[in-house]
Every structure is written in C-alpha cells, then in structure tokens.
Symmetry: C2
Subunit: 392 residues, 2 copies
Amino acid sequence: MSPSASYSTYNLDRVEQLIARGHGITGLTKAELPTPALVVDIDKLESNIAQMSDYAKQAGISLRPHAKTHKTPEIARRQIAAGALGVCCATIHEAEALARAGLSGLLITSEQVGLNKMARLIRLTEQRPDTMSVIDSAAHAEALNDAASVGKTVLNILIDIDPYGRRTGIAPGIKAEELGKLVDSLPHLNLRGVHGYSGAASHVHGWANRKNESTDHMLPVLASFEAMKKAGLPMEIMSGASTGTYNIDSQLAGMTELQVGSYVFMDADYRSIGGQSGAVYDDFRPSLTVLSTVVSKRYSDIATIDAGIKSFATDHDALPEVVGIEGATYSFNGDEHGRIHLDKAARDLQLGEKLELIISHCDPTVNLYERMYVCRGEQIVDVWSVAGRGNI
Amino acid sequence: MSPSASYSTYNLDRVEQLIARGHGITGLTKAELPTPALVVDIDKLESNIAQMSDYAKQAGISLRPHAKTHKTPEIARRQIAAGALGVCCATIHEAEALARAGLSGLLITSEQVGLNKMARLIRLTEQRPDTMSVIDSAAHAEALNDAASVGKTVLNILIDIDPYGRRTGIAPGIKAEELGKLVDSLPHLNLRGVHGYSGAASHVHGWANRKNESTDHMLPVLASFEAMKKAGLPMEIMSGASTGTYNIDSQLAGMTELQVGSYVFMDADYRSIGGQSGAVYDDFRPSLTVLSTVVSKRYSDIATIDAGIKSFATDHDALPEVVGIEGATYSFNGDEHGRIHLDKAARDLQLGEKLELIISHCDPTVNLYERMYVCRGEQIVDVWSVAGRGNI
C-alpha cells in the first residue's frame, strides 16, 4: 500500500494540469498518473514509424497510414513527417479531428452516406481540397454529386472494390468499371483511383497462408484497377493492405499506396498471427500499454486491478498481456475490474502496486480513452489528445 | 438514397448547435442526426424511473440507483427527484462528474486505491461531505485514514463484503467485523455500514434460480451486517442488489437500500434472463437504442450499417436487436460496421435508410458515447452529456 508519506507530497493539482494542458508539464512519472491510463512508449512508437517508412521507401511504394488505429493528431503528424502522403480515416469525425489539427492528405475509407455525413464531407473538402472518400454504388455517386453541386464543390473519389467479405465495396470486374465511368462523368466528382481493403486477409495465421489469401483477394481488385486505367479512366491511386500484409501486398504489381495502421502500436492479437520469419509477428514493437492499479488483494492466487471492459476492447479472443511478471495472466472481471491470475506467476502483487498490460486489440482500445500519456521509461514527457475517438 | 432535394435543405449548422449546446435547440428529428447515435426514449426512461421508485416505496426500502449504467447527470437528477437518496458510482471520475453537476448522496462502490484516487476522494468529500466509498482491507483503511488526516477530512466508509466472486470485498464473518471495528476506531474514517454486491447473481437465468442464488450469496453478508450492529458498530446502511434482483434482495431482512442500475435502460442481455412472470424480463421497458444508417447495400440478403464494435459493447453474448423489422438480425462487422441479415426479414432495407437497434449491454455501450439524444417519437427534445464516461 502507498504509505501516507507519499500521499502528503502527492500533487493532485500538477497531475490535473498535465491532463488539462498536456504539453509543457514535465517531471511527472507513471506512478503519479490516474489509472486506468493509456500509455505509449515514444521510443518504440517512433521506431515503428521509422521502420515502416524505411520499408516503403525500399519497396518503392507510398504510405497513407490508417489513423483509425490511433485517432491522434500527434501520431498522424509524425507519420507524415516520416514521408507519408497523408493518412486514412475510418469516419468523417476522425478526418475532421485531424483537419482541425492542421493535417491534410486525408482518405476516408468508408462510404459517407446520409445527409449529415455528406454535408460534413463537402465542408471538409472545402477546407482541405485534397480530401478523398470512397463509393460503392451508382446511387451513392449520384447523391454525392447532387449534394456537392449545391455548393459547387468537387469531391475526390476512389471506387471501393470489395476483395472479399461483402462488408462494403462493389465486386471487381465490369460492374466496378461501369461505376468508375459513371463517377468520371459526374461534374462534381473527381475520380482518383481504387480502394480495396481485405480485412479478412489481415489476421490470417502464418505468413505463407496470409500471403496466399491476400494475393487471392487482391489480384481481381488490381486487375480491375488495370482495366479501368486501360479504359482511359484517371487511375492514379490503388490503396490497400494492412499491418498484416504490408510486406505481401506491397509486392503486388499495381499497388500504389499502403494504408497500414496497427504497426504503430502492435497488439497481442497481431503478435499472435506470426511473422515472415517466426511464430510471433515481431516486425514492430508493442508500444501501447494500459497502466492499472491493484485495488484489491484478498487472496494469494489473484489480484484485482482497476482495468476491465471499459479499459480494453473485448472483441477479439486475445487477452491483454501482463508486462514484467512471468506467468501472470489477465481475465476480464466486469466493466471496471480485471483479474490477475498469480498461481503460476514469478512473483506476488501488492495492494496499490501499478501494473502495465500490453493491449489485446489496439484500435477499439484506443477508442475508449480521451488521451494517451507519452512516456520515456518512467517519465511522462507529453500528453496527446485522442481527438478522433468516439461516435460523433 | 436521400434525394438531393433533402440535401439542399439540410441544416448542418443547426445540427452542430444541437450537439454543442444541447438544451434549447428544438425542432430537429431523428432523421437529421449524425449516426451512429445513442438515443434515449424519454417517456420509457421516465416510466422506468417511476416504476422502480413506486416499487421501492411499497417495499419500504430506499433507492440509491447505480449511475455506472448511465454516467449522465440529467438521469441521476431524475432518479433523485423520484425519491432516491443519491446515486452510486463505480469510479471517482463518475462521482466527480455528478458532483460538478450539483448532485450529492454519492456512494462510490469500488475501492479507491493509490495516491491519485485517494486525493480525489478526499477533495470530493470536502466538496460533498456525504460522499461514501468502500474498503475491503486494513491496509487500505489505514492508508485512507492517514491520507485524510493530512487535510483533516473525515471519509464516510462502508465495509465492502464479498457475497461471491472474489472480485473485491472481504469475506463475511469475523474478518469483516474486525475490519469494521478498525474503521470505527480510526479518527478520519466514519463507518456507515456495509456494501455487498453479487454481480454473479444479477444475470442468473430464471427468476426462481436467481432468487435462490442471490439469497445464498446475500444471507451471510446480511448476517455480518447484523453481527456488527449487535457489536455496537454504527451500521445504518446495508447496500446491494441489481436490476436482476430488485424484487428478490429487497425482501431480505436487513437490506436498507438498493443500488439498481440497468432498469433505466434495460438491454437485450437483461431481457433474456427471464422475469418473475415470464421468459422475457419485461418489468422495465427498453429505452435506449443506437440509431444507424445503411451505408452499403450491394446484396439482397445483407445490408451494412455504420454501427460496429465502436458503437455497441461486445463483452456479452447477447447481440443488438433490430427494431421494427421482423426477422432482421445483427452481427458485428468490424470497428465501424455491422451487418444486418435480411434473408428472413419481413422487408428489405435501402441505402441511406436509418435503422434503430436495442443495445445488447447498456453500461459499456453508454461508455462509448459522449452524449445521448433524448427523443419523444421522432422529435429530438434534448441532448444530455454522458459526463462520467471514459477512463480519467
């Protein structure tokens, strides 16, 4: 338990300044943070960004990393500084948050359907004319064109081709080409290329299996891209790939840019799919953890921490991994609590002790937090706003 | 698809005023909202609040409903106006958010361990002297007493007794009584009673089974409460129960107040556990939905909507339930998307159409949203801040 000597010197005001202002408050350590807290290791993050950037340069392909992973302007800024063309966004809200922070080169990879999203897409394009989004139907193309004509805006469009999975996207082939021609003919739409994302391939276990599956999914998309180009359509951009397939899809002829996302943080789920050279996918370093506190310690075999369903995404089978205690494992124990299993652990835990866990699935975990604390070792060196989080 | 005629009259500025200011913007309809949106039906919500209040009055028991369900000052205010003593909170952040909104009578039902949370609990108690929290160990009692002594504050304490589940709480019996005596002896702690919450009993399927399990769990806690009272300790409060056990635990001798939460909203998960008189637990009305938009419609048997893992909690087996289309079902399809299965549906869906879904698990779903739109039929009559959401 934290002794009262520590309490009497604890500076709550200083911690609150850190939370409210972020930049410019230094000298705090991890031990002083409110928990549960999302913590990013700046050295590992920057090493991941540099490594993907180096890979892309060597492979002769462009990067427009997916900001849905981090939703954080300070990270997008670093990706662009390392050579990315811009960033992808999953929602208009993410794109608005990044534009507010001064960023451009935004590609929204989901269909923006309905009055509210169309209006926001048009306004964003007026502010950032290089903004792009995707469509997968003639009805949507015509509605966007009509809406944009009200304000004389021209919207940049990629044809969303479905490699697999039937989530969004038109089938590759003649239908996609017809949609391309329609978009090209509409005065308030500016056709720029093709978007094709295979979420199904991204997490296939075993690199060779993943290579086969992703290649099977992507070749018809790339053939459509090529056919549209031959038909005289203005096909500059062929965007796709994930952190799981960055060194697979980048080798396919025709791909022009990668929308890799999770590599900045990595997570327990991605680590488990295997890399090109081993059973653990460790091309990039896990940089994101949740810091928690042991809040109940009544039994020798378990400890209860203050991080549960509200602090980690629960959508995947992978669980958060305990850092620094061999054999200790995590399970969910309600909205606000998690259980640390200590029966096979190298050491015990004490009431009040801080415990860090590698997150299980980065994107929806980040979405649960308003901010991330940026650390170098035990020191907090900055606080970043997760400005694009939430449903807005 | 929304025709362009609708687009040209769409007032984005007005929608943004609604989001930013909430109160005082009227005349908007559900169709104009950005999706995914959390929507509460005010009539159903108020009927649920009134019904639980009536039940408690008839049963002769007090209510301190759990605000972890809604995290929303406007709902806590209505619960207190209907006769509740105050509200429970799961975290210090929830309690701070409700106190900022002017509320009091707050019971924080989780141990506040570590320098940051102890400092905030002390500050909150200085602002709202009737604030209570829980402890389950002598080490924590002594740390809190020492911390409170720095500022001469007196903290109100319930002994957290574990009915089952080993999450937090001391075992019922002599150990709990010893802890009660210790708390009573410490000058900066003010013993008020016992907290005993059986999460395990709350969702047992079948009312008779649930009654047996909850009674088994709670009787030892109530015996401890009684023993401490007989030992001369100041035992005013015996707090427990859930929406699943409100009409079970309220009948147990010794219970003084109920910390029911989910009844304000209900959810698909709670509905499935069965009520006292039937297979569906329908004592309270589902008042909370997520409004979504069909963003892709390429196949006859499915539609893709813009509400996925970021818009619904994924921790329980129950899935969101489609409102108004017999036979249509939902499955998750990534962070930002869900799939509507239409092969057995009474009708088809169109691109751009709005679709409402009853949420699967209320507490962690509410946690994903910054605000809830308050509706009466199709009209939006208010916007409430989910001020206690998140990890802070």
